[in-house]
Symmetry: C2
Subunit: 276 residues, 2 copies
Amino acid sequence: MDKSVLRRGSVVPCGSGHHRPLSLVRAGSAPLHRQISDALRLAMEAGRWQPGDLLPSEAELRSRYGVSRGTIRQALATLRAEGAIHGSRGRPAVVRAPSLSQPFNELLSFSAWARSLGRSPSARVVGLEERRADSTMAAALGLDEGSPVIHLVRLRLADKEPLMLERTTFPPQVGSRLFHMDLEGHSIYESLAAQGIVVASARQRIDAIGAPTTDARLLGVASRSPLLRVRRIAFGPDGGALESADDRYRSDRVSFTVDNSAGRAPLVRGLIQAVS
Amino acid sequence: MDKSVLRRGSVVPCGSGHHRPLSLVRAGSAPLHRQISDALRLAMEAGRWQPGDLLPSEAELRSRYGVSRGTIRQALATLRAEGAIHGSRGRPAVVRAPSLSQPFNELLSFSAWARSLGRSPSARVVGLEERRADSTMAAALGLDEGSPVIHLVRLRLADKEPLMLERTTFPPQVGSRLFHMDLEGHSIYESLAAQGIVVASARQRIDAIGAPTTDARLLGVASRSPLLRVRRIAFGPDGGALESADDRYRSDRVSFTVDNSAGRAPLVRGLIQAVS
DNA sequence: CAGTGGTCTAGACCACGCG
DNA sequence: GCGTGGTCTAGACCACTGT
């Protein structure tokens, strides 16, 4: 067989070459290494391999899928980057406990997150107004001080239970679109995405604060209760800031989880400058 | 010299081959792809390439470093996984805005973290005792209920300022070593690493709580002040749990930061079950 | 020791972006 | 059409883990 028959459409020596084992296809679909990593991930999620089990050796996978070692290694590298497996030299890779991860979109969008948990997201608009950016906000969004910005405050609920109070500031080219949107029923992120505005990355800072009276009343907790605060700046594909957000969660109902597996940590601990 | 001489000691066709350009060495040191990714990362951090710049093409990097394309691609894959660059097909990779990240060790170890900020870490042991694992702890550490575990409580300080209260539970094979260690001066993680016990991964859950009276007194804050709580289970290379920790930070002094850049989010938002 | 994964090479075809 | 990165192959040496 020339695999080239299947894979490249080049010289076809004859018919009846054997086809690729298992269900790997080559018809303009996904790359082989991706098909393999998907298949392995599926098998792990289905429980065919339990945490702690050893994966088949690269040599066996190579022959099982009829591909070269490089392709197998690329598939395994994907799983390793996801934290699904975990290898060491001289020994087959180990299946790790299922790793948490959400699509990026579910982290940003309260609506998408709530729906993924089988709950009905909603929002109550507390305020929507145009403001002038102070120096902090201007720096965060990369605007000039005094530039007009749109400030939106919403209470976010899941199954009518208030979970989070959200204060978001948008630069004009994003925020101006809010006035034509359904802010209580639909996801802002989804509506913006439909208009070609997508978030490519975000930086989030997490700390805890005591609930101010206003926040406490809206969230239905006692004043000065601990709240989990997430301050976020979201960026578009070109690196421009799309929003600056201050989300405050009822800490008795919501928590955040981080998996650290690789050599570098996605979660970074930082010291806050003492006030002088 | 011929590369083969340096790298494999195999057949040497002739003398006067070219030597490897730049400062790549091969003497049992780091792998080539790692040397290259480190060099590129350093150049970006030093500002030699600004965010938005295009990296040299793979072909140029290949000839510049005198290695094969696979090695270059492996180096670039590392940077891509770190979020430092960002590529697309048909065009050289783009340098992205600098991303936060700490070595994994600095996230785990209070001592390493404080030193990286130029501060002097210290600890005050509040309690050290053997206990029996209750059902929750047994499940977390993968032990049987009632198994003996070692429970350590320490107040962690930087430059003598209390920042965090740490309650850690160890399984016996790890915890038994604590009784022979300097728990107030040296890093536990570093001491354990010297004995071959290394943390390969960890899962951390973050929320906010009001400071109980005891915690508040130790940390020097008002009772019921908001604290940032990080609960962590750390795993060894074989997937076995090495510790279960409950760290409570003064939220006026410490915060956590997460960068989300790729398609999947390292930070996951979770709902806490309502008490029935 | 044999077998494993980690690293590296040389060469190839393809899809995409740009001039 | 040309150069780019994305994918894939075949083969090699090395370091480590088990027996």
